[in-house]
């Protein structure tokens, strides 16, 4: 039983990471109906820049406690990823806003390859170890183990989701976002500066991406230039699973996907008598994506939207 609880906890932690990243996908989709495939690379950039910043800080004799050092690293990486997100939207998506939907999808993939290669040029291809700065004392929970860092990741995913929901529902910017998402031209007729709203969406999404990247790096103890691809793909799956465009859905989808994967990897071998081993855990994510698209195209919490295009 403690093994099962441990698998659930593992799944919850991985799922929270997916959720944090999925929020970035879903925000942009909600407003532009565009899948920002470069988001996985923003996550990677966040992690890599934070590692560099932290090593420069501690190398130059700054003596801060670990968590503060990570916060300092984030203070460097968040503005850079925000700027990246802003630039990506300005360069790769805005000129194509009126183009067929496939065009910005292709520039998104292009941007993601460019970012990945730039990261290879800057940091080389070796995995970088993530400095051991965040508290990771273990706690016993019904026979299973959970660390401080893992609790932080789960809490962070929920807090960020709550914060975003409040922003979208209660603030002026949020109202503008909802308006743009419903109908761009009518929103602009009502005096909403749609370019500003869309830029802000990318900037906020990228900041979240940087935080998610640091959580991924800290959790696995390493980061590398090609890490964004797989984790981005999983987070995208989570967003679709929960109903893309829906903030609570992204978190629900992320958690569910994490748990399915973890339990799948843990019990796939014994159940199939060793025919399928635990290395098939990734196909779980994509099987889920296919099944959801077949049976519930709008996702678990997604609303059925009328045909617009």
């Amino acid at each position: 039983m403690d093994i099962f609880i441990q698998q659930l906890i593992n799944g919850l932690v991985v799922g929270s990471i997916y959720a944090l990243i999925a929020l970035g996908y879903t925000m942009v989709y909600g407003i532009l109906q565009l899948i920002n495939f470069a988001h996985g690379e923003i996550v990677m950039m966040g992690a890599m820049i934070t590692i560099s910043a932290v090593s420069i800080l501690s190398g130059s004799g700054v003596n801060l406690p670990g968590p503060l050092l990570v916060v300092a690293g984030l203070l460097v990486s968040i503005p850079i990823t925000m700027l990246l997100g802003f630039t990506i939207e300005r360069v790769a998506y805005r000129p194509l806003r009126k183009a067929p939907r496939l065009a910005p999808l292709i520039t998104a993939i292009g941007i993601s390859i460019v970012l990945q290669q730039v990261a290879v040029l800057i940091w080389k291809n070796n995995p970088r170890s993530f400095p051991d700065l965040l508290p990771h004392a273990s706690h016993d929970f019904m026979g299973a183990v959970i660390t401080d860092l893992q609790i932080l990741i789960v809490v962070l995913a929920l807090v960020v989701m709550g914060g975003l929901l409040i922003m979208v529902e209660k603030t002026k910017l949020g109202r503008a976002m909802r308006a743009v998402s419903m109908n761009q031209s009518v929103a602009s007729l009502m005096g909403v500066n749609i370019n500003y709203v869309i830029s802000m969406t990318f900037v906020i999404g990228s900041a979240l991406g940087a935080v998610a990247g640091v959580m991924v790096g800290a959790n696995y103890g390493l980061a590398y230039p090609t890490m964004g691809f797989m984790i981005g793909l999983k987070a995208f799956t989570a967003a679709v699973l929960g109903g893309i465009g829906n903030l609570a859905g992204a978190v629900a989808g992320g958690l569910l996907l994490g748990i399915i994967e973890s339990v799948g990897a843990g019990y796939l071998g014994p159940i199939t008598g060793g025919v399928l081993g635990s290395h098939y855990q990734d196909i779980f994510a994509f099987m889920v994506l296919i099944l959801v698209l077949v049976f519930r195209p709008s996702g678990l919490l997604g609303e059925r939207v009328a045909e617009r295009a």
């Binding site: 495939f37 893309i244 071998g269 635990s278």
Partner: protein, 412 residues
């Protein structure tokens, strides 16, 4: 367009993107390939080198390349005569991305470029498929690091290696776990590559033969970073030792996550993570873990101290693992050319088989399959943040018997 249809297209485009990523990587390397170019005038002999120069084990590939580069630059400086003519050597280095498909493309490129010989590849999974193309073209190939037994069991006259294979390595590790560590129960994880799986299978055989119980066999991939699920399954089986067949990019985080779950078992593995990189990635958790390395301990290698000095002076970095092996492979290939008086593969191949070379890594002779005779295996342990040799298993006399033992072909 409905969301469903849109997402399907997205997935399809994404799949294309994934392919794109595979193919776009070699471009920068192609530009920098003829690095050790020879001056015009003398006859130029091209030697191919293949290893992953991008991806998560690029540091190992670069290390291999440096070994070949050092050998070739020294040979060119010494001035080599083959068949009475002065010759210069040129290295053509290609990136196989540790990917079997890319490896065959690279091999074809070497065949088309008419290289005189190939040093490589690094991984067993790339060396084996590439060896068929070299064999068909009659080009001698010496792998510095492919340890899967299969490589030399295919009956190719052109396939050689200068490292003990996994029958020797897995056997030595199994014996070490049973006798030195007194392990009663082991769990085995591998990354499903030709190397990881092959080594894990050999370890399993050796451990079982020594009466050790194998309580779990789990799998991951050579791209994974999350091992919590499989480690949790293993935790329930309470092994004394967890064996990992794979590379350092996975072994590092795996060791960290092991500690996170409060598993006290020792980690043990092969040459794939007996690297400095492993200690960096696993951090403090690397302390006390074991990994083996075919060959003698570095401080017992006859020419290591000297080689290490030259390497550091030239490349300003530490040796990862196989640079001394690629260095030896290059030099002994050229020795064979000298003896044959020709760099024509058909002419010097018979001489290569007769190799009796005193290398940096020790004496090198080949058996009839192309395996090194008398390959030894050293087990290392991380002590105070450094790998330290704790035992050397296998002796020049015992090894040929071990190499002849595998009746059962490893599964592919």
């Amino acid at each position: 367009m409905t969301l469903a249809r849109y997402s399907l297209i997205a997935t399809a485009v994404l799949a294309l993107a994934a392919c794109g990523k595979q193919e776009e990587a070699p471009a920068p390397d192609a530009a920098g390939a003829p690095a050790a170019a020879a001056p015009a005038g003398d006859e130029v002999i091209k030697i191919g080198h293949a290893a992953p120069l991008t991806g998560n084990i690029a540091h190992l590939g670069k290390d291999n390349e440096n070994g070949v580069r050092l050998a070739i630059e020294e040979l060119n400086a010494e001035g080599v005569e083959i068949g009475g003519k002065k010759v210069k050597f040129e290295m053509i280095s290609e990136d196989d991305q540790a990917d079997p498909k890319t490896a065959t493309t690279v091999a074809q490129r070497f065949v088309d470029a008419k290289v005189a010989g190939v040093i490589g590849h690094l991984n067993s999974g790339t060396t084996i498929p590439a060896s068929k193309l070299y064999s068909d073209a009659g080009i001698p190939q010496i792998s510095p690091s492919a340890t899967n037994p299969q490589y030399t069991l295919q009956g190719f006259k052109t396939a050689y290696r200068v490292i003990a294979n996994d029958v020797a390595q897995g056997g030595a590790l199994g014996e070490f776990a049973a006798t030195n560590l007194k392990a009663k129960k082991v769990a085995i994880i591998d990354d499903r590559t030709a190397y990881g799986q092959g080594l894990a299978d050999e370890f399993e055989k050796a451990a079982k033969a020594k009466g050790v119980e194998v309580v779990g066999r789990e799998f991951t991939t050579n791209q994974a970073t999350d091992f919590m699920a499989i480690l949790t399954t293993i935790k329930g089986k309470k092994p004394d030792v967890i064996f990992y067949g794979g590379m350092d990019a996975q072994a590092g985080p795996l060791t960290q996550q092991l500690k996170k779950l409060g598993i006290a078992a020792k980690v043990m593995g092969g040459d794939g993570f007996q690297t400095g990189e492993y200690i960096k990635l696993a951090g403090d958790n690397a302390e006390g873990q074991f990994a083996s390395q075919p060959g003698m301990p570095k401080d017992k290698m006859p020419g290591f101290a000297d080689f290490d000095k030259k390497y550091k002076a030239k490349f300003n970095t530490d040796i990862q693992i196989y640079a001394p092996f690629t260095y030896d492979a290059t030099r002994l290939m050229v020795e064979a050319m000298k003896r044959a008086g020709s760099a024509d593969p058909a002419k010097y191949l018979p001489e290569l088989a007769k190799t009796d070379y005193q290398g940096v890594t020790g004496p090198i002779k080949f058996d009839e399959k192309g395996d090194i005779v008398g390959g030894q295996v050293t087990v290392y342990q991380v002590k105070a943040g450094k790998w330290e040799a704790v035992a050397t298993v296998g002796s020049p006399a015992a090894a040929p018997a071990a190499a002849a033992a595998p009746a059962e072909q490893p599964k592919q």
